[in-house]
Amino acid sequence: ATLFETLDEETWERLEEALIMADVGARTTAKVVAQLEMDAESGDLEGGEALTRRLTELLADLARPGEGHIDLRPEPTVIMVAGVNGTGKTTTIGKLAWHLHRELGRTVVLGAADTYRAAAVEQLTEWAARAGCEIVTGPPGSDPGSVAFEAVRQGRERGADVIIVDTAGRLHTQDDLMAELAKVRRVIAKQLPDAPHETLLTVDATTGQNGLRQAQLFSETVPVDGIVLTKLDGTAKGGIALAIAGELGIPVKLIGIGEALEDLRPFDADDFASALLA
C-alpha cells in the first residue's frame, strides 16, 4: 500500500504527519507538500504509486544539496570533526580511521584535541588502537589548538595520508567555545594553508528542530563541509538532516549505524528518503 491510495485531504494530512514525526520540521514539510501538490495538480502523476515515487524523489533531491563525498586527494587530507556534546564525534573518528586504514589502505593519524572532557583522550586512544593508527595527544587541560597543530605537524612528518582532529563537544550557544573552535581551525590552517580540507559536523539522528540551529551556528563559526548523521540505528529518522540540507545547503556525507568500528556508511539520499516514509 502506498501513502496515497486516494488523493484527499486526509492523504495530505497523513503525509504531513509522517514528515513531521520524522523531524523534518513544519517549514520543510510545508515546502515538500506544496511541491508535491503542484505536481499532482499538473496531472502527470497518476495514482498512489506515482505520487509516492515522486515524493521519494523530491525528498532525495532535497537531501542532496551538494558534493556528498569527502575529497581525499590533498596530501595529507586534514579532517576536523565538531559537534554538540555526545553526538558521536569520537566514535565516528574511530570508525572513519578504521575505514580509511583497513578498507582504503591509507595511513591515518588522529589528533586528540578534546583536552577538556574526562577520559576523552583515553577514549580516542582506544579507538586509535582498534583502528590500527597513531594518535597525537597533549597533556590534560592543554590548549586544543596546540594539540591540533602538533597532530598536523607530526602527521605530515610521518607522511600520513589523512589526519583527523577530534574536538570537545560544545553547544552552539556557548560563544567562548565556538570562538575556541574557530581558533583550532585557524591554528590548523597555520600549519597547513588549505587545512582543514574537510570539517564534519556530527548531528544525532534523534535531534529535533534544534539541529537546524546547531548546523547554522556551527557553520557561521567554521565552514561545515558535511554532516555525519549518527545513531540512525535507533528509531529516529533523522529528518532534521533534510531541513539542514534544504535551508543551509549542507550535505550529509556519512551515517552512523551503530557503536562498532564498521558501523559507518556513506550517505545515500534515496535510501534516506525511502526510510523517511517507511
Binding site: E17, N85, T206, Q209, G234
Partner: protein, 293 residues
C-alpha cells in the same frame, strides 16, 4: 513568542465582536506550529490543541473582551497541568543504601549526571554517595566515571570491563552496604530502546540491585522520537523519573512535555551545563514557559 502571536491573531476580534470558528482555527494553528517547532510530539500536540480548542469554545473566551489574552491563559494553564507539579527530588529507601539506576540512549549525559547527582545529594542532603561503573562497553567509560567520581568526592566501585555489568552492580551494592553508604548510583552504558539484548541486561541489573529510583536521562534536544524511547524504556524497565540534560542550550525542550504526557513520569532534575555543579531540581513551570517560547 506564542502569547504575542495569539494576541496578534485574535487582536481584531474585538473589532468585529464575536470569536468565530475561523478565529479559533487560526489560534489553534499558531499553537500547533509553536509546539511542533519546540519539538513537542505530534500526537501530544494534537490532543493538547483539541483540549485547548474545547475550552476556547466556552463562554469565557467567546464573550471575552480580550479573547487573545483568554486563549493565552488557557494554553498556559493546560501546559502547566500537563507538565505537573514541582519536582519531589529523589525517593530515599527506608533501608540504605538507596539505589539509583541511570538509563538512557547513547550520549544523553548519564555518566556526567551520575557524578552530578552524587554531588547534589552530598550538598543538599549530606548523603555519602558511591558510584558503580557498569558500562563495560564504551571505551574509557570506567575511566570517565572514575575521574568525575573523584571530582565530586564519591567512591567509584569498578571491576574493569571484563565482568558482566549485572555482577558488577550486585558486587557494588555489597560494597556500598559494607561501607555504610547512604546512596549508590549505578551508571550504565547507553543503549537503544530497540536493542533487545541490552534492554534485557538493564532489566537484569534492575532485578539485581532493586533501585528505589530508575532515572531515564533524556537529551533536551531530542525530537519526535522522545516518545518512542520513553514508552519502550517504560515498558521494559519501568523508570521512576527523568533527568533532562543539556538544558543550558537553546533547544526548546518539547521532549519534556511529550515524555511527561505520554508516560506520566515526572521530570526530577535538570542538567544545565557541563560542570558538575550545574545540576538542579527540575522546574516544570520554567519548562512550560521555555516550550511556549
Amino acid at each position: 513568542s506564542l502569547s504575542e502571536k495569539l494576541q496578534a491573531t485574535l487582536a481584531d476580534v474585538r473589532a468585529h465582536g464575536t470569536l468565530t470558528e475561523d478565529d479559533i482555527a487560526k489560534a489553534m494553528r499558531e499553537i500547533r506550529l509553536a509546539l511542533l517547532e519546540a519539538d513537542v510530539n505530534f500526537k501530544v500536540v494534537k490532543s493538547f490543541t483539541a483540549t485547548v480548542k474545547e475550552r476556547c469554545l466556552g463562554a469565557d473566551v467567546v464573550g471575552a473582551l480580550n479573547p487573545g489574552q483568554q486563549v493565552v491563559k488557557i494554553v498556559n494553564e493546560e501546559l502547566a497541568a500537563l507538565m505537573g507539579g514541582a519536582s519531589m527530588g529523589l525517593t530515599f529507601s527506608p533501608r540504605p543504601p538507596t539505589v539509583v539506576l541511570m538509563a538512557g540512549l547513547q550520549g544523553s549525559g548519564k555518566t556526567t549526571a551520575t557524578a552530578k547527582l552524587a554531588r547534589w545529594l552530598k550538598a543538599e542532603h549530606g548523603s555519602s554517595v558511591a558510584l558503580a561503573a557498569c558500562d563495560v562497553y564504551r571505551p574509557a567509560a570506567v575511566d570517565q566515571l572514575r575521574t568525575v567520581g573523584a571530582q565530586v568526592g564519591a567512591d567509584v566501585y569498578e571491576q574493569g570491563t571484563d565482568r558482566d555489568p549485572v555482577d558488577i552492580a550486585r558486587w557494588a551494592l555489597d560494597q556500598a552496604k559494607m561501607a555504610g553508604k547512604d546512596v549508590l548510583i549505578v551508571d550504565t552504558s547507553g543503549r537503544l530502546h530497540v536493542d533487545e539484548k541490552l534492554m534485557a541486561e538493564l532489566v537484569d541489573i534492575r532485578r539485581a540491585v532493586k533501585p528505589t529510583n530508575v532515572l531515564l536521562v533524556v537529551d533536551a534536544m531530542t525530537g519526535q522520537d522522545a516518545v518512542n524511547v520513553a514508552e519502550q524504556f517504560s515498558q521494559a524497565v519501568d523508570f521512576d523519573g527523568v533527568i533532562m540534560s543539556k538544558l543550558d542550550g537553546d533547544a526548546r525542550g518539547g521532549a519534556a512535555l511529550s515524555v511527561k504526557a505520554v508516560t506520566g513520569k515526572p521530570i526530577l532534575f535538570a542538567s544545565v551545563g557541563e560542570k558538575l555543579d550545574q545540576f538542579e531540581r527540575f522546574h516544570p513551570d520554567r519548562m512550560a514557559q521555555r516550550i511556549l517560547g
